[in-house]
């Protein structure tokens, strides 16, 4: 009994990266089953013409949630399950740079997904506007379904999860490598995750901006996306995110396939550095091609040509990666075990997916492809085919490491063959349905689309059900498979040098790399790492700090949908949120759980001397800048393109704006002084700086509030899209500031009572950076929305 309680506590409160990885894995597979079931439902509906299995509304809800769940709650989290579990080990680290934030990422992801699912149970149904959620279809006017609010909230929680995760992975990869471990020597999987999180860092804030504007429309009754041309803003913000997102989904799998091919053909990759360079090029280019999703929106011909060029260009790095992966195998002692089969299958379908993408890149050809089943085939070949096959290969590959037992090889191969065939029966016919629009719930008999659709549906069942073989195989082998030792595959990277499953802190010694040799050394026969952490690393706060917003947003969504018992949920959610923020900071986790590895054991190039908290802050702000750029961009678009004629000069009192900006600037200066004080160990200086900064920030909030009150007092409303977008920007800024003020308040109290303990100086240092950023944003906001 006590044991069971301990187990439950472990899984709820864990901050260990391997436990978090397992949680990610189980959650991802859970959402895979749900989203897959939805897909089978709508494939039944489409199998014959004029079917009435699912009516239009239900069909659209199924398609929409299928897409969102698969992309955001299945494929990406599956990649990150492995990333959580294996990246730290592959680097030679004990854990992630911020273990508690890592757990937070997980819980935000889970609760975000549950919010999504809750949408189904709302009266009036859930989101039904497609995963791309085009505006203005996604607004209250055209989709009053209350569940749609929950979907938007779920996505916002997911974005929070992703943001925390990206920062964590970047700092981990940069600062927690084993001593002597050069970046270039890292496994391709780590490189794949590295580029993935870099793309996430810049892509997701754009979606965040779009969803924020949508929330303002849907909840505060603004008129941003329903304004003439307002939908175009959604297009830009969504696809600036959306194109990188498809590579975000692909990269972990693609990189993993490269590792698998190398290990199972017993050959180093051909042109490793070229491949890394190609990944980098594709990641960078991915931000400059997104308009290929907008070829028909009336953008100018020259703009089309630029994006046609960049889109075709992006096929060059992918071509190079594919060819090098194939040629790497020449001369090797190839073993066609299940993981290898999946890796090769992934490359095989990626080729078709890539070629069909090149067809799409041409605006003339795209006349046929856009919005048709050709595109559906294209992106399933790359996302499902390339990414999912490779990740399932990874699941088989790492299964013995995670469980200490081997799966059944024959069943694994059968799973591969059936799913590969099923996959192609499912998606290949769709290339021939190039004239069938996607997302139609039915089609007339005379179109002649019936037979191909029927074949696809048969394939869907084969493909879908084939995974039961995997589930059965793995579940059985978890308990009854033959035991394996450390390195059943003869692979080279760090995870294969530790026990299966790895011990709690991964290494019983200090990982060190000399030249190209990975080693774990014992310092004088002692086990220094094990002695370092005496405290336990369980923490309830990541769970609670996610549960609070979950309940709150669920209540809010129910309230908007006029469902009973909404208010209690809102209240309880708010209380838990506030209390858990307090608890999070009260709990000196990093002092209690001394997990930090001495810097001299670590390779930290190129950020050798910067503290991880500050480094994390820099990364976070890099992403956050995109969020504000998106909001400000929306305002500029409204003024320039959508004919919102009233300039900020007319609606605002420029003097109030100037005063507010100056207050904000001085507040940042004092925060900087406080940080200096902390560095010098000067308690008075730090406290003086902190409190002055706090007062000035509060004054800023008040002045900004007054200014906006006066704008609304003269009769302007959110119905004016220029007002709505600039008000959203101001609101976002103030909320950022208030969040920062919470931390400032906490630091003030802590310094006052206990002085500079723990990481207080570093945290204050990072906070000063944050304040500087907010001051810069306030200057930008002033310049754009008051003057322009």
């Amino acid at each position: 009994m006590a044991h069971r309680v301990l187990q439950i506590k472990r899984w709820l409160f864990t901050t260990n990266h391997k436990d978090v990885g397992i949680l990610y894995l189980v959650t991802a597979l859970y959402f895979f089953v749900i989203a897959g079931t939805l897909a089978l439902l709508f494939r039944i509906q489409l199998s014959v013409p004029e079917n009435d299995f699912l009516p239009a509304g239900k069909f659209n809800q199924a398609v929409t949630n299928h897409g969102l769940l698969m992309v955001f709650w299945f494929i990406s989290p599956l990649g990150f399950a492995f990333a959580n579990y294996f990246v730290p080990i592959q680097l030679g680290a004990k854990d992630m740079a911020f273990p508690r934030l890592n757990a937070l990422s997980y819980w935000l992801l889970l609760f975000g997904g549950l919010l999504m699912l809750a949408g189904f149970f709302m009266p009036g149904g859930t989101a039904d506007f497609g995963w791309t959620a085009y505006a203005p279809l996604n607004t209250e006017t055209f989709t009053p379904n209350p569940g749609a609010n929950l979907v938007a909230f779920g996505l916002l929680m997911l974005i929070a999860s992703v943001t925390v995760g990206t920062v964590n992975f970047l700092v981990t990869i940069f600062q927690l490598r084993a001593k002597g471990y050069k970046m270039l020597g890292l496994p391709m999987f780590v490189w794949g995750i590295f580029f993935t999180v870099l793309m996430m860092l810049w892509a997701f804030p754009s979606l965040q901006a779009a969803l924020t504007l949508l929330a303002v429309d849907r909840i505060l009754g603004a008129n941003i996306f329903t304004a003439p041309k307002g939908g175009i803003i959604w297009d830009h913000l969504f696809w600036f995110f959306g194109h990188p997102e498809v590579y975000i989904v692909l990269f972990p799998g693609l990189a993993l396939a490269l590792d698998l091919i190398s290990v199972f053909s017993r050959r180093p990759l051909l042109g490793r550095k070229v491949i890394i360079g190609a990944l980098a090029a594709a990641a960078a280019l991915s931000f400059g091609v997104y308009a290929h999703h907008m070829f028909m929106t009336g953008v100018s011909l020259s703009y089309l040509k630029v994006h046609m060029f960049t889109t075709e260009l992006i096929s060059v790095p992918f071509g190079i990666i594919t060819i090098l992966a194939i040629l790497s195998m020449i001369g090797g002692a190839i073993r066609l075990s299940t993981p290898m089969l999946f890796a090769l299958g992934s490359i095989a379908v990626f080729i078709i997916g890539g070629f069909s993408g090149v067809f799409n890149s041409n605006p003339v050809l795209d006349i046929a492809n856009r919005g048709s089943y050709w595109v559906v085939a294209h992106f399933h070949y790359v996302m499902v085919g390339a990414a999912l096959f490779a990740l399932f290969g990874g699941l088989y590959y790492w299964f013995p490491k995670m469980t200490g037992r081997m799966y059944n090889e024959t069943l694994g191969k059968i799973h591969f063959i059936i799913s590969f065939i099923g996959f192609n029966i499912l998606y290949f016919p769709m290339f021939f349905l190039i004239d069938m629009p996607r997302r139609i719930y039915t089609y007339p008999e005379w179109t002649g689309w019936g037979p191909l659709n029927f074949i696809a549906t048969v394939g869907a069942f084969i493909f879908g059900l084939s995974h039961l073989i995997m589930f059965a195989n793995l579940l059985y082998s978890m308990k009854h498979g033959p035991r394996v030792d450390r390195n059943p595959w003869g692979a080279w990277s760090y995870e294969w040098m530790v026990e299966s499953p790895p011990p709690e802190y991964n290494f019983e010694g200090i990982p060190v790399v000399q030249g190209n040799r990975l080693m774990v050394v014992m310092a004088n026969g002692a086990k220094p790492h094990v002695e370092l952490h005496e405290g336990n690393h369980l923490s309830p706060w990541p769970l609670l700090i996610s549960l609070g917003p979950f309940l709150f947003l669920l209540g809010l969504g129910m309230w908007l949908g006029q469902v009973k018992f909404a208010l209690p949920l809102i209240v309880v959610g708010a209380i838990i949120s506030l209390y858990s923020v307090y608890g999070w900071f009260r709990d000196d986790f990093y002092e209690r759980f001394k997990f930090e590895e001495p810097p001299e054991y670590k390779e930290r190039w190129p950020f050798t001397s910067i503290h991880r908290v500050k480094l994390g802050m820099y990364f976070f702000l890099f992403g956050d800048a995109v969020f504000f750029a998106g909001l400000v961009g929306a305002y500029i678009f409204m003024r320039l393109e959508a004919g919102a004629t009233l300039s900020g000069l007319v609606t605002h009192n420029i003097l109030l704006g100037l005063l507010a900006t100056l207050l904000m600037l001085w507040s940042a200066v004092f925060m900087y002084i406080a940080a200096r004080g902390a560095k010098l160990g000067d308690k008075t200086l730090a406290l003086a700086g902190l409190s002055l900064s706090t007062v000035l920030s509060l004054a800023y909030v008040v002045v900004t509030g007054l200014d906006w009150a006066s704008v609304f007092a003269v009769g302007f409303t959110l119905a004016d899209p220029a007002i709505a977008t600039s008000a959203t920007t101001a609101l976002a800024h103030v909320l950022h500031l208030l969040a920062g003020l919470l931390v400032a308040l906490y630091l003030t109290l802590k310094i006052w009572v206990r002085g500079f303990t723990g990481h207080v100086p570093e945290t204050l240092d990072a906070l000063a950076v944050y304040w500087g950023f907010l001051a810069a944003i306030s200057v930008l906001v002033f310049g754009v929305t008051y003057v322009f």
């Binding site: 239009a56 279809l137 009336g298 080729i351 006349i367 048709s372």
Partner: protein, 239 residues
């Protein structure tokens, strides 16, 4: 009704350009595809049996750098070259699409973008939840699209409510219908007959039913209809 794979080039000028280009891409894809798939299948097949194979992966040793030689460079150059070929061809075709109508019908790209041109028929297309209306210069409004064969047609497409995508797939016409904005599309229908018009952007529960028909008439018949102010015309179905 014909279906893909098929050659739509007789139906309209845009379809002809599309088909030529598609053929080119498909040829390149198939040629490259055969080579790549051959390698992908043969290499594992051969080397999973080969006895001379080497094992260069050692536990705990970062795999070495391989392939600092000429054939890496060859691969890169080959891929760049095929990229350039595809790019140049498609660039020309995009221009072709715009310049074709100028050479053959005397309508310039500026006129197309402005949506007014002598000799071209300008139809205003309005999408709404869930249907289409077509408005002709002389004021006729119709929910069937009548078009003359052999004459450039410019579509000025907009929407009353949400995004739609106006398309006559067999003629290779597709333009987004966006509220607050007028987008231009054009084609030159060639073969009289009845064609499917359908919406290609999810626009709500009625999306699947947003189907209409376009009837391409011989020029004289079209003029007759046009002059008689769009009385319902009985044409023989075909095409």
């Amino acid at each position: 009704m014909f279906h893909y794979p098929f050659d739509p080039s007789q139906f309209s000028e845009t379809a002809r350009v599309w088909w030529n280009l598609f053929g080119f891409y498909l040829t390149v894809a198939i040629l490259l595809g055969i080579a790549v798939y051959a390698a992908l299948v043969l290499i594992p097949f051969i080397y999973s049996r080969s006895r001379k194979a080497v094992d260069e992966i050692k536990p705990g040793v970062v795999p070495g750098e391989r392939g600092r030689n000429a054939y890496l460079a060859v691969i890169v150059v080959l891929i760049l070259a095929s990229f350039l070929a595809v790019f140049v061809e498609s660039y020309i075709s995009v221009n072709e699409l715009a310049s074709l109508i100028e050479e053959e019908y005397g309508v310039t790209i500026e006129q197309l973008q402005a949506g007014e041109a002598d000799g071209a028929l300008v139809v205003e297309v309005r999408g709404f939840q869930w249907g289409w209306t077509f408005k002709y210069p002389n004021g006729i409004e119709s929910d069937v699209l009548y078009l003359p064969a052999g004459r450039p047609v410019i579509f000025k497409v907009t929407s009353d409510d949400v995004f739609h995508a106006f398309s006559i797939p067999d003629l290779r016409v597709k333009v987004d219908a966006i509220p607050g904005q007028v987008n231009m599309g054009w084609t030159v229908p060639q073969t009289p007959g009845t064609y499917r018009i359908q919406c290609y952007e999810l626009c709500g529960v009625g999306h699947a039913e947003m189907i209409s028909k376009a009837v391409v008439l011989p020029p004289e018949l079209f003029d007759f209809w046009y002059e008689s102010l769009g009385e319902e015309l009985v044409v023989e179905e075909g095409g």
